[in-house]
Amino acid sequence: MSKPFPPKVVTANHLLAGDVIYQTATGWTRRLEEAEVLTDAADADLRLIDASQQVAEIVGAYLAEVKLVENAPRPVHFREDFRATGPGNYAHGKQVELI
């Protein structure tokens, strides 16, 4: 039996703004909850290859593990939590811009 594949999303930084983005079925979003959740290893690899080829739009694509909370992806590691929400030292950046 193959190893279970924990759900993942493709994430990267936007080439021009440099901010954190997530792959959707049709493009990119700045909101993790809108990301396409990948539950199959082969599918995830293909989606990552697709993302990595978009060199004029994004930088540094990789797969980040998520957990599903009420059917929406949430970060597993605290680093991804900070990437999803922006700096926590005071209210600025993503945490105020995406409200």
Binding site: L15, L16, D19, V55, A56, H77, F78, F82, P87
Partner: protein, 554 residues
């Protein structure tokens, strides 16, 4: 203040034009990220956790009001209205858009600032004592030499492919405020029989393998400086390890070969490099020195200062804490704290930067310095101007009286911004500062340096903090290790790790227990934390932090 020559200006314009084209090619997709990355790093542009980050060099931490105004303008026009002053006397903008960076660099060039060699495997911005040119204890102003080193190291053809980055710090004072023993090369100006020279220290550094630098030359005559430094970098460039980036810094080279062998190799190489310097560098140095002539100091009555000192306790507290001795009669060195309790250490808003520039122009002979401790210095202020200066600082939230105290914390950006970080550091600094401010104890606690890094690269200098805090990722959870007894001065020492780390929730109470232990142990209020620690050793602090260990041992 060094003024750019036509050569400097033309060099910068060419360099910026090249980078503009590189950015355009990246945006068009003609360059891949792998191709573009080394080019952007050479120009100080990182891609961090949430955005690009542009690191602008502030050579040897020296600014005038025009430069500070320009830094503020960049924050307003192309960033989120603030800048972050770093532990290497640089400023970082956390939010530039890629397409704006060439315009930012052009704007910086208007006042002779740049981002060259603030990243990559280069000789980085040369740092210096932030009290340079003003300190009462200074042998000589180290900044002309630092400027000479900047010119020598910028685009040096031999040093374009080095094993790793290379950092040089210089002080002109026996009291080392430039952390010279924790740099690849540290220079301490000396005078011997009326002649000027340098104690040259090599192989210091923090990071994952902290090392205190070793003296490679006890007295290097001033005229030999460039050929000797060129020999050091050249020897390292040849034998430094390239197989493992974690072993590539010169501290590892010195450690593996031994200081005596490195000294021999450098002496050998020096015989060659010396011949290639005709003395033109010394002529240049004399010319540069003219740019750094001290201002014309004024005389004025001190009565206004004395009146304010005796009548205004807030002013008195600030004056007692944030002023240092100046070489000129009637003058003080003013440290402007960028550590208001609860704020991000080292951050200044554009409005605050404009104000500090105005204050430098109005009261400070148009000079400012950035300290590696992430504060801003007005190096030359006459005491008669201090009450008015303090009032304007207070209105802008810049009059926090905490220089050298427990809330004057060095903190790297950590995981709030940095892509390399393994844990947050700024929120820990904010919580510590707020906690001790709430207790109103920091003036009683006295001199205590807390330094926090959010990863082992140690940008927050935690190894040399009296209390050092290192944030790590332990199995997906932030974990903070404590070291005690670090020292960043001429008696530099790497702190001792106390024991297992603490969670983000437990680290501030842990610091409080350390401080409580110190207050119980100190012989008098005059005995600073570091002196108590040296006297008692770690045992009582360890017992306070890990009482269960003591119980288990009994």
């Amino acid at each position: 203040m060094y003024s750019y020559s036509e050569f400097d200006t033309a060099f910068l314009a060419t360099r910026n034009a090249q980078f503009r084209q590189q950015v355009e090619r990246r945006i068009s997709g003609a360059l891949t990220e792998d191709e573009f990355k080394p080019l952007r790093l050479m120009n100080g542009l990182y891609l961090q956790l949430h955005a690009y980050m542009l690191r602008v060099a502030i050579p040897y931490g020296t600014l005038n009001s025009a430069k500070m105004h320009k830094l503020a303008e960049l924050a307003t026009r192309w960033d989120k209205g603030y800048g972050h002053f770093t532990t290497r006397q640089n400023i970082q903008y956390n939010w530039p858009a890629l397409q704006d960076v060439p315009d930012m660099l052009d704007a910086l060039a208007e006042v002779g600032l740049h981002a060259i060699q603030t990243s990559g495997n280069t000789i980085r911005n040369v740092t210096a004592d932030h009290f340079a040119g003003a300190a009462a204890d200074e042998i000589a102003d180290p900044r002309p030499v630092a400027e000479l080193l900047r010119q020598w190291s910028t685009d040096h053809p031999e040093f374009q492919f080095m094993p790793r980055k290379f950092k040089i710090a210089i002080t002109g004072s026996p009291n080392d405020r430039a952390v010279t023993r924790a740099h690849d090369i540290g220079l301490r100006m000396l005078e011997r029989d009326g002649a000027r020279g340098f104690e040259v220290i090599v192989g210091g550094g923090l990071g994952r393998t902290p090392m205190i630098g070793k003296v490679i030359n006890g007295f290097l005559p001033e005229a030999d400086l460039l050929p000797y430094l060129e020999a050091i970098v050249s020897v390292w460039n040849q034998i430094g390890r390239r197989d493992n980036k974690y072993k590539a810094r010169i501290k590892i080279t010195v450690h593996e070969h031994g200081i005596d062998e490195i000294r021999r190799l450098v002496a050998e190489r020096f015989e060659q490099t010396r011949k290639t310097f005709s003395g033109v560098d010394q002529n240049m140095l004399r010319d540069i020195e003219n740019h750094f002539a001290p201002p014309t100091f004024k005389s004025a009555p001190h009565s206004g200062f004395k009146d304010a000192y005796h009548s205004d306790p807030i002013f008195r507290s600030w004056a007692d804490t944030n002023l240092r001795a100046h070489r000129a009669p009637g003058y003080k060195i003013v440290s402007i704290s960028l550590k208001k309790h609860g704020d991000t250490p080292g951050d200044a808003s554009a409005e605050q930067m404009h104000l500090m520039a105005d204050l430098a122009a109005d009261y400070g002979h148009d000079e400012l310095r950035i300290s590696h401790e992430q504060n801003v210095i007005l190096p030359h202020v006459h005491v008669s101007d201090l009450p008015a200066l303090h009032a304007r600082l207070k209105d802008a939230g810049l009059a926090t009286a905490n220089i050298g105290l427990i809330s004057d914390i060095i903190a790297c950006p950590g995981m709030d911004y940095c892509a390399l970080a393994t844990a947050r550091s700024i929120p820990i600094a904010q919580q510590i500062a707020n906690r001790f401010d709430d207790l109103k104890r920091e003036h009683d606690i006295g001199q205590l340096k807390i330094k926090i890094s959010g990863c082992i690269n140690a940008c927050g200098h935690h190894h040399v903090g009296h209390i050092g805090i290192l944030g790590l990722d332990r199995a997906g959870v932030e974990n903070y290790q404590i070291t005690l007894g670090g020292d960043h001065t001429e008696s530099a020492a790497v702190g001792d790790r106390v024991g297992p780390g603490f969670s983000a929730n437990d680290i501030v109470p842990a610091v409080e227990r350390i401080v409580d232990t110190y207050l119980d142990l100190r012989s008098s209020s005059d005995e600073a934390f570091i002196d108590t620690y040296k006297r008692t050793g770690m045992a009582p602090f360890k017992a306070a932090l890990y009482p269960q260990t003591k119980v288990a041992a009994e």
